[in-house]
Amino acid sequence: MTPATHIRNMHGKTFDFLLFRLGSFLLGVATEQVIRIRRGVMAQINPGSQQVDLRDIFQMPPHNQTNNSAAVLEVKSQLGRAYIPVDTAEDTIALNLDQIKKLPPLINFHKSHPALWGLALLENRIVFLVDLDRLSTNDSRNGEIKSNMV
């Protein structure tokens, strides 16, 4: 598995990302980090497993509405196997390194987290790329990985 830090140094190569939507944001994670995708909410899928709530992490408002397209990403990170509930699993895309940009400093991303390592511009969409491995390294400041023990 190629860490995201390594990806920054691999110009001219393409990388596959899984795009998912969380609220109004379109996020993307490397497919290498994703084990599989499951439909439904977390409680239905795997109760008692490790859950990563990106909303909390990225300080997004909670989503109260019923969502039929809700999915749970089963990912592998440094912390181990974790489950990330998302609103919608959108797509898989292949991005050149050239297409991936650094986060511009002017963007008011006061909730920015070290896991957000770049962004890609796709036609009329902006995809925020998330590095799942860095979620655990910066949990004190930007969020925490919860263990939902049922």
């Binding site: 995708i37 397209s69 699993a89 898989t92």
Partner: protein
């Protein structure tokens, strides 16, 4: 055939049989000296002529009588319009006996004329026989005509009398006056008498002349017989011939001798004898010999074929006869001469008899005419007209009776005049019922006048009362007339109003009828509308059911779409997982990545499409729900409309019923108002009549007043008039 015609025909036949059959034929056989041939011819002629002329003499009068009765029936139908026609019919009836008499006279005379002509042609009737037959014919025809006249007049008289009585004719037409009737009868009797006497005399004269001729011939034969016997005995034939020639010198006779062989030994040069042959002379000899009678000095023989008479005397015992022959013409000349003298004397007698008959008829009819004129004047009221017909016979007695009747009537007239002048004191001296009646009338009249005087007093009192009452009545009648006039004006206004009401009622009845028709049409339309509403409700409910079914189907679509979405989502998940796995596979999984991407896109498209479908289905469902609600609403509305329509229909039915009742009521009102109008008009007429009556009553009351006044005046006048009558104390 009625009784009158039967009676006329019967009597015509009886007289025909009596006069023509029983009178003529024996008389003709006795008076006319006819040969057997002539007699046979006469019977033949009689056999065919008598029935024919009997039918004519019977049938013609019956026909005339029938025509008269028919004319009477025709005239009687329109007698009131044309009395002259009835007068003509009665005149014809009165003339009918005379007409029948003339007809029979002409018919019988014609029959005899034809018979005489036939006898002359076929039976060698000589002149004497023809004249004698003609005389008999005239006599017979006159007798038959006279019988027919008197008999028919007797038969028709009652019938004509009834017609005159029924028609009311004052004076019947004078067809044949008494004068003419007497004259005709007298003349007829005279003519018949003369003809009868003439024919009998003529018949006897013929025999007398024949007898005288026979006597003279016998004398001549007796004178000649001794001379001829002597000359015959001496045989001097020349002297014998001379003697016979000398005896035959008169032209009308010849003398000759005749023997039994039919030869004439002497005197055969005679002109008459030369025409005879021996056979004829032999026949003459035999006839003379057969007729020879010892009691009679001579014998004679009439040979009709030769038209000669032979006188004979026996000259010797050997059958030689001295014969004298003469021709019939000699006798006829003598008879014609005799007949001429008879006719001349008859004409003289006829003239004298005519004059005497005329005088007789005039003597009988002239006083009767004068008496008739006097009677007419008396009938007209001229009682004092003088009766100046005084003769020594019954007519004179009748005149005296007339005169006496006139004098008595004058007395009655004088007494009536006295009564007219008011003198009721005297009594008329008049015998008989009329005088008694006159005197009773006078007595009763006196009593009546007394009673009238008493009554006048009562009437005078009553008149005064009537006068007062009639004045009051006149006043009341005038007031009544005025009231009636006012009432009439009011009733006329009422009648005019009733007329307007009647017209309006008629219009209202028409409108009600029209309303009824419209209501009935509306009711029919409502029935149709109700039916349509029911159809609409039915279709609406059906549509609602279909729409609900559509909603249910769309819901099922939603379920299906949910399944599809679920599948699409799973597919997407699978494709994403596949893509992840493919990307993990590196280059080897790139192709699979593409496939997974395409699958994901398809899944997304499916989701999008199902979303659209879901949206559409939702819209359909929403629309279906809306439609169902609308349809339910429509059904409710239709039901409500149908209920309202039913109510409207019931209301319309009630309207129709009420319109019918209204129409009937309007018609009844129209009829009632019409009757009211008629009644009010009748009342107006009655009021007018009442008004007229009231006016008439007022006028009558005024008239009654005037009449009462007049009556009062009249009672005064009557009192004056009655006071003129002088009554016995």
């Amino acid at each position: 055939m009625d009784n009158l015609k039967k009676k006329v025909g019967l009597y015509q036949g009886i007289f025909f049989l009596a006069v023509i059959g029983l009178l003529f034929l024996p008389y003709a056989l006795l008076t006319l000296e006819m040969t057997w041939t002539q007699l046979k011819t006469l019977l033949i002629v009689y056999a065919w002529e008598a029935p024919i002329f009997a039918i004519i003499c019977i049938g013609l009068p019956m026909r005339w009588v029938g025509a008269l009765q028919r004319a009477h029936e025709e005239a009687a139908k329109k007698a009131h319009d044309t009395p002259a026609e009835m007068y003509n019919v009665i005149s014809r009836g009165l003339k009918l006996p005379l007409k029948i008499a003339w007809g029979t006279l002409i018919i019988i005379f014609l029959a005899f004329s034809i018979a005489i002509l036939q006898m002359i042609i076929f039976a060698n009737f000589d002149r004497v026989q023809s004249i004698e037959t003609l005389m008999i014919a005239i006599m017979i025809a006159m007798i038959y005509a006279a019988c027919c006249f008197f008999n028919n007049e007797r038969i028709l008289a009652p019938l004509l009398g009834s017609w005159v009585e029924k028609f009311g004719m004052s004076t019947p037409p004078r067809v044949l006056t008494l004068f003419n009737k007497i004259l005709v009868v007298c003349l007829s009797i005279m003519v018949v008498t003369i003809l009868f006497q003439g024919s009998v005399t003529f018949s006897h004269s013929n025999r007398l002349i024949e007898g005288l001729r026979g006597e003279s011939s016998h004398k001549e034969l007796l004178q000649l017989k001794p001379i001829l016997q002597k000359l015959t005995a001496q045989g001097e034939e020349k002297e014998l011939e001379k003697a016979l020639s000398k005896a035959s010198e008169p032209v009308e006779s010849d003398f000759f001798l005749l023997n039994k062989k039919g030869d004439a030994p002497a005197g055969k040069k005679g002109m008459l004898l030369n025409q005879k042959n021996s056979e004829n002379l032999k026949s003459v000899f035999l006839n003379l010999l057969n007729k020879m009678d010892p009691q009679k000095p001579y014998t004679s023989h009439k040979n009709i074929e030769d038209q000669k008479i032979y006188y004979a005397l026996p000259l010797d015992n050997e059958g030689l006869l001295l014969v004298k022959v003469i021709e019939f013409d000699v006798l006829r000349k003598e008879m014609t001469s005799l007949l001429g003298s008879i006719l001349i004397s008859s004409l003289v007698v006829l003239f004298i008899a005519f004059y005497l008959s005329y005088r007789l008829a005039e003597n009988a009819s002239a006083p009767l005419k004068k008496l008739e004129a006097v009677a007419d004047k008396i009938a007209d009221g001229a009682i004092s007209s003088p009766v100046n017909v005084i003769t020594g016979d019954e007519i004179g007695a009748l005149s005296c009776s007339f005169l006496r009747m006139q004098q008595e009537l004058s007395k009655l007239s004088q007494q009536a005049n006295n009564i007219a002048c008011g003198d009721l004191t005297g009594q008329v001296e008049f015998k008989g019922d009329l005088g008694k009646a006159f005197n009773r009338m006078q007595t009763d009249l006196s009593l009546i006048i007394i009673q009238v005087r008493e009554a006048i007093l009562k009437i005078s009192t009553a008149c005064n009362q009537i006068l007062a009452s009639s004045e009051e009545q006149a006043s009341g009648a005038s007031e009544q007339a005025a009231s009636v006039g006012e009432t009439t004006a009011s009733i006329e206004e009422l009648s005019a109003t009733a007329g307007q009401i009647a017209e309006n009622s008629d219009i209202q009845a028409g409108m009600a009828e029209s309303t009824q028709q419209n209501a009935e049409e509306s009711a029919n339309a409502m029935d149709e509308a109700a039916e349509l509403m029911e159809n609409i409700r039915h279709h609406t409910e059906k549509s609602a059911e279909q729409i609900m079914s559509l909603g249910e189907k769309s819901q099922q679509i939603g379920k299906v779409l949910a399944i599809i979405n679920e599948v699409a989502a799973e597919t997407k998940m699978l494709s994403l997982n596949a893509a992840i796995e493919a990307s993990k596979a590196g280059e080897a999984g790139k192709g699979f990545t593409v496939v997974a991407s395409e699958i994901r896109k398809l899944a997304e498209n499916v989701v999008k499409s199902t979303g659209s479908i879901e949206e559409i289905a939702r819209e359909i469902q929403t629309a279906a729900n809306g439609s169902v609600m609308a349809a339910e609403e429509n059904v409710k509305l239709v039901k409500a409309g149908a209920e309202k329509l039913t109510r409207v229909e019931n209301a319309m039915q009630e309207i129709v019923t009420m319109a019918e009742q209204t129409t009937d009521s309007a018609k009844q009102v129209s009829m009632a108002t019409g009757q009211q109008k008629g009644a009010s008009e009748q009342v107006v007429l009655t009021m007018h009549e009442l008004s007229d009556v009231a006016r008439q009553m007022a006028g009558a009351a005024g008239g009654t007043t005037q009449s009462a006044n007049s009556l009062t005046q009249m009672t005064k006048d009557l009192k004056k008039i009655i006071s003129r009558f002088k009554l016995e104390a």
